[in-house]
Assembly symmetry: C2
Homo-oligomer: 390 residues x 2
């Protein structure tokens, strides 16, 4: 039911638009901060809003396990529960079942898994995912999909692609709430043929928007863009297009250039809690000794609260001392950096200066190299269960 207006001509890449939802409009391209457990870690909804966020993403898997979807429904739905009156998108729960839970027995019917919190057994089906998301009451909800692993067997990708189409049809059939938009997800692993098949099957079902899933799952960046390029051409241009799980500054610029509209990623806030803060030259590690007596802000010219009020020496101290305020100031800085980047890209698109914006941004920004990035991601995934990061 939600609708989407393109501001740029249909077929343009990059593109600017407006996503209309019951809780307000979202100018696109847009980045969605992640409120995994109904909270953007360490931040109040007022802060999230003041950073420029127009929409947040919450995780159905987490909320289903704790506090339980029924609790949230009784308390007036997710918007009321978490005190965020802007638009919300919930994911289907699928990605976390495959990445966080244990004992996954998957069939075309659904997936049996054990909670990562208490080991309890649960069974997720496309119908249940929709029912849970309807009870949570987000503005945009997602079809249940299966994301095949990078470096898996070809048969895995094939099976996941077929199952994703099957589940998408069941999600669409199960969907009742007309005030919620339902997005389909294109899978297909790293095969161009499977990507095309998946896109055609999902698009044939007719969704309010389309997500491209299964990218940014450990593959080299060049492959991400190659597969995205080949997938994008099969996804309708008049509908919002959501690239799932992408959120590093350089990747957002690249993906916007390729015609994507919506993004989510825990990276900016997770990095922030580890002291890795964005600047236009790349990430800096605020724990580095060079910040010990540094009177300047994290980045000169940054309009965020942390940069406006505190020296990088103070942030360095808070991170060294593991003060809770550190995680909050770091999150504010990184999210504001991303939001300002999105605002800058949209403005450049509207003014017809995107190519220059992109060139200039990517010339200055030193991304973390692929090898380090993959190693960091693996380390994080391993640590996640024990969670030493606040």
């Amino acid at each position: 039911m939600e609708s989407f207006s393109l501001v740029t001509p249909i077929g343009a890449r990059p593109r600017a638009g407006v996503l209309h939802t019951p809780h307000g409009d979202v100018p696109t391209p847009a980045f969605m901060p992640v409120a995994t457990q109904a909270s953007v870690k360490s931040l109040s909804p007022e802060e999230v809003k003041s950073l420029g966020a127009q929409i947040v993403l919450s995780n159905t898997y987490h909320l289903y396990l704790r506090p339980g979807v029924d609790v949230i429904r009784k308390l007036g739905g997710l918007h009321n529960f978490m005190g965020w009156q802007g638009p919300i998108l919930t994911d289907s729960g699928g990605f976390q079942v495959f990445s966080l839970a244990s004992l996954r027995q998957i069939s075309d019917d659904g997936v049996l898994f054990r909670s990562h919190i208490d080991g309890s057994e649960h069974y997720l089906t496309p119908e249940l995912s929709i029912q849970l998301q309807e009870a949570l009451g987000a503005d945009i909800i997602m079809a249940l999909d299966e994301c095949p692993p990078y470096n898996g067997h070809a048969s895995e990708a094939q099976e996941a692609t077929a199952r994703t189409a099957l589940w998408a049809a069941r999600c669409k059939a199960a969907h009742r709430r007309e005030d919620q938009a339902l997005f389909g997800i294109v899978q297909g692993g790293f095969s161009h043929e499977l990507r095309r098949q998946s896109a055609e099957a999902i698009v044939a079902l007719g969704f309010d928007g389309y997500a491209i899933g299964g990218l940014s799952v450990g593959e080299p960046k060049a492959l991400t863009w190659e597969v995205l390029e080949r997938t994008e051409q099969h996804v309708p241009k008049e509908r919002p297009r959501y690239l799932m799980g992408v959120g590093s500054p350089e990747d957002l610029v690249q993906a916007v250039a390729m015609g994507m509209d919506l993004f989510d990623c825990a990276l900016p806030t997770r990095l922030a809690r580890n002291g890795a803060l964005f600047t236009h030259q790349g990430r800096v590690n605020i724990l580095n000794a060079r910040f010990t007596e540094s009177a300047g802000p994290i980045e000169a010219g940054c309009d965020c609260y942390a940069c406006g009020r505190y020296s990088s020496a103070y942030l360095h101290h808070l991170f060294k001392a593991r003060e809770l305020l550190a995680y909050r100031l770091g999150s504010i800085h990184n999210l504001r950096f991303i939001m300002r980047l999105m605002e800058g890209m949209r403005k450049a698109i509207l003014e017809g200066t995107f190519e220059g914006f992109k060139g200039s941004f990517l010339r200055d920004y030193q991304p973390t190299d692929d090898e380090v990035r993959v190693a960091q991601k693996e380390k994080w995934v391993k640590r996640r269960a024990g969670s030493s990061v606040p």
Copy 2:
């Protein structure tokens, strides 16, 4: 330098006054939130101010070890460093040397200790304590004292009392910055005679204000009040009187009744981070299952941000999920409870209705019983080095 005006007649108990400092006036009685490491844990200075706090306390011991007093001096002093433009009081470092550090070799000259952070050796003297506090630049600084343990030998209390007087004289002699007020500390353990001796020796030196130390260190509450009563009579009535380390709601009411003006304690924020939240009936444990679906605030009628915006079910969820926002909302609630209590007491004093206020508050408020309280404190002290509490 700072001066103190009594609003109530001299000799009145309880009393209301105004403490004048270079960074503003502080209406008394006043509670000082603790910013141990230059941050009231999880809160921004703007939030601390909006809670009604007029003055905060920071710990010289912690700041000396990390980031180092010299760093803070170079960055413009503690007010600039932490972004708090209101009054600050720093303690002398003594209490933490005795409670946190290891390998303490104490003599009349000073105290040798090892850092609880990295085991490095340091030597604290009265002169160094003053020098450090002058470099930090707080509005009110404290003389170095020795706090004898509860249940120690009589000779320990005697020695600590004599040394406290000796050190107070050296602190006074070392003190140069005329824009900073210097407070002396009365010790004397749990002996009325030593308390009298200590008070007379410290008062004879002439300080801008007087603190009563060595109470609330594990003794039964009845003994706290008995010793306070016998100490208070030897402390000048025209100067501000600071009861160190007291901060539970019921104790604040009792101590204000006995003529105390200033208080500090990490208890309200530490309890908050453990999910123990204040109400007029006593503490509640927000992790309790009864809050799972509770749509109401922590306490009906509370004017804090957490109670105004969120259900107790949401707080329960955040605490269960160990979301960082939990510690922040809990701290906001508990500190606002304490600040409102202080405001209520001051108003009642000025209106001549304090006895009724006190009776009504203590009739409703169920304090945690002595045995539980002492056990909790011991548990916390043991855990502090490892610090599982954020």
